[in-house]
């Protein structure tokens, strides 16, 4: 690297060959937004079909393909890459590093993602259709009874698993080796902490997912019987392996969101985060517990009572560190000089709705009660409260919060507030009624339903169309800000914002912190 600041290359090759963490972060964010719209379009098909009882628009088989692809695209294409993009942009700037530790691997871990999702989406056009076995792809639905396109699905999962593992190794190597002098672990911003822990979870469990799909591949093509009872295997084994990956996975999705909220709430409360150390320990505690609770997803497979009890109590235990976090966020706001700009609105929306999702999670953790809730719309409502109002709301808050820093231009605040309120109302109209139909017994993943669920389903669909449309407003607001937003002159942008990234100009130059910054005595979180 030369001793002068040089800008990016021009044209398409800039993006293809870039090793710059800011460029790669930007690509991850745009890619995940595209996937968010694609997964959202699948959701619109689902809600349009469920608008009225009876078969209206699509075939049941296609409906199943929609629920499957909606889940896969949202989890692996939208939420996870969006937080990796955020990590790329922010972690080097937050810890005073010039770039990620492994810039070329960084380029590679992004560029293998689009082909993986192109392959996954192309299954829609294949003979036999796209995978239709749900995003959890339980065997034998995903092996013996799978459409031929399942092989492409398996390779797509392999590729995005490799991408996630490379991204995580990069993040860990950056945080462990490239912090500016004086940036001790307990001075790191909480977003960096949550991502460090998340990256360890990813390195531990993405290979397990790769193992599960590899076994599927072998069962389908090479005559093994991992999941086939006829050859001595067991389909229940699939569920154990999947959820051994799958439960840490849900914390992989939500922990970076916790980090984002822990940056934004102090900024708009104009107070340091309450209980910084307890936040770090709570995050680590949640991560460790996530490895011993997987079977709460499978209470109804016929476990021994001792197993049900163990997984029930272990699951309930997770409410303790999570409660610590919610308590700390609320206490940070307590007697703060609060203002309610768009990022703060989304953060408070997160806090309220994520807590509701947490409570329904506690209800589901009760093994005997779960026999009633299992595979109903109550579960759908629960995980959308934590995935959408949790992960997506915090991601939206993060975009509004850091966009002026990244681009040097301000978004339209009024439009941002409208986006929040329309999203908040649309989200609740969509998912709150699903608690009721779920408790009344409506199963998930079905294209038709009994007449008594009609009114609530129509409400859900109307809410979903409102929520979906409001994301187009978000897209417009972001593009308008980048193209013609009011220029930000201040480095801090928000007067309560703390941290190294806010000491850089807005927008930051292409290369930052080539000489490490001085870390003040006061911790910068």
């Amino acid at each position: 690297m030369g001793d002068h600041h040089h800008g990016p290359a021009k044209g398409l090759s800039r993006w293809l060959y870039t090793t710059n963490h800011k460029d790669i972060g930007t690509m991850y964010l745009w890619f995940s937004f595209a996937m968010f719209l694609l997964g959202g379009a699948f959701a619109m098909v689902i809600r349009a079909e469920l608008f009225q009882p009876g078969m209206q628009l699509v075939e049941p088989g296609f409906f199943n393909q929609m629920t499957t692809l909606h889940g896969l695209v949202m989890v692996f294409g939208a939420i996870m890459p969006s937080f990796v993009g955020l990590a790329n942009w922010l972690i080097p700037m937050m810890i005073g590093a010039p770039d990620m530790a492994l810039p070329r691997m960084n380029n590679w871990s992004f560029w293998i993602l689009p082909p993986a999702f192109l392959m996954l989406a192309s299954t829609l056009l294949m003979e036999g259709g796209a995978p239709a076995f749900g995003w959890t792809f339980y065997a034998p639905l995903s092996t013996t009874y799978a459409p031929p396109s399942v092989t492409f699905f398996i390779f797509a999962i392999h590729i995005l698993g490799v991408s996630s593992i490379m991204g995580s190794i990069n993040i860990i190597a950056t945080v462990m080796n490239m912090r500016a002098p004086g940036m001790t672990y307990m001075k790191m911003p909480l977003f960096v902490w949550t991502w460090l822990i998340t990256a360890f979870l990813l390195v531990a469990v993405m290979p397990v997912l790769a193992g599960a799909v590899t076994m599927m591949l072998m069962d389908i093509h090479f005559g093994t019987s991992f999941f086939s009872a006829a050859g001595g295997g067991d389909p229940v084994l699939f569920q154990h392996i999947f959820w051994f990956f799958g439960h840490p996975e849900v914390y992989i999705i939500i922990l970076p969101a916790f980090g984002v909220i822990s940056q934004i709430i102090p900024a708009f409360s104009r107070k340091p985060l309450f209980g910084y150390a307890s936040m770090v320990y709570a995050t680590a505690g949640i991560a460790i517990l996530s490895f011993v609770v997987w079977a709460h997803h499978m209470y109804t497979v016929g476990m021994p009572v001792a197993g049900e009890l163990f997984f029930m109590y272990a699951t309930m235990l997770i409410a303790v560190p999570t409660g610590v976090k919610v308590f700390n966020w609320v206490t940070t706001m307590w007697r703060g000089a609060m203002t309610f700009e768009t990022p703060m609105l989304f953060s408070i929306g997160f806090l309220v709705l994520f807590t509701i999702g947490g409570f329904t999670g506690l209800m589901l953790s009760i093994a005997p009660a779960d026999f009633q809730y299992h595979d109903t719309y109550f579960v759908v409502a629960h995980f959308h409260y934590v995935m959408v109002a949790g992960a997506v709301f915090s991601m939206t808050a993060a975009i509004y919060f850091w966009l002026p820093k990244w681009t040097g231009r301000m978004y339209n605040e009024t439009m941002g507030k409208v986006h929040f309120w329309v999203s908040f109302i649309g989200f609740n109209v969509t998912f709150f009624p699903q608690h009721f139909v779920g408790l009344a017994g409506m199963p998930r993943r079905i294209p038709d339903y009994a007449l008594q669920f009609a009114d609530f389903n129509m409400m859900s669909s109307i809410g979903a169309f409102i929520y979906g449309a409001s994301q187009l407003l978000f897209l417009y607001n972001v593009i308008a800000a980048i193209v013609a937003g009011e220029k930000v002159s201040d480095e801090k942008v928000w007067d309560g914002a703390e941290g190294l990234e806010w000491t850089l100009p807005s927008p930051p130059p292409y290369h930052t912190f080539e000489t490490p910054p001085k870390i003040e005595e006061q911790p910068a979180h």
Binding site: A101, A204, M215
Partner: protein, 185 residues
Amino acid sequence: MRLSQDPTIDTVAKLGAVSVGMFAFVFVVMVPLYDVLCDALGINGKTSSEAYISVSAEVDETRSIKVQFIATNNDGMPWAFSPQVTEMLVHPGAANDTVFFAANPTMDSMVAQAIPSVSPSRAAEYFHKTECFCFEQQPLDGNGEAEMPLQFIVDQDLPADIKTITLSYTLFDVTSLMSDKVASR
């Protein structure tokens, strides 16, 4: 332990080893451990896949256990498959014999594998099979028929609250899996 002088390479090498190790962990630990635990604890109603060597058993004539037999065909399996009797009363410790019938109505030779399951699953570890057709695959020529023997002992230590044990067999068509691949049960 340092794997490299460069701290970044060191971190990457260690984490790479962890991810490769976790991939291997699924195959060499999780799968065998699951089978061992299911066998040892009778989880999922799985019974032992090997013949039980009966120890000099004292027959407990003070109580009778009702043992029910269920025969089911897996999806697409065309064979006729049924137990000779649907239930019998047995004393714990005594050896009992029964047979299942199978008939292949098709014109082709086929190979079948029966997979047992015991309900309640708690009873699985007390249900010993000294001889069972499920230990091996069952080949049948087109239009062939077979009597398939089963000999079992209900353990004297069976918990007192279990009065009825249901033994269910599901018959799978394994013709395409090749009969040289020995099924483990």
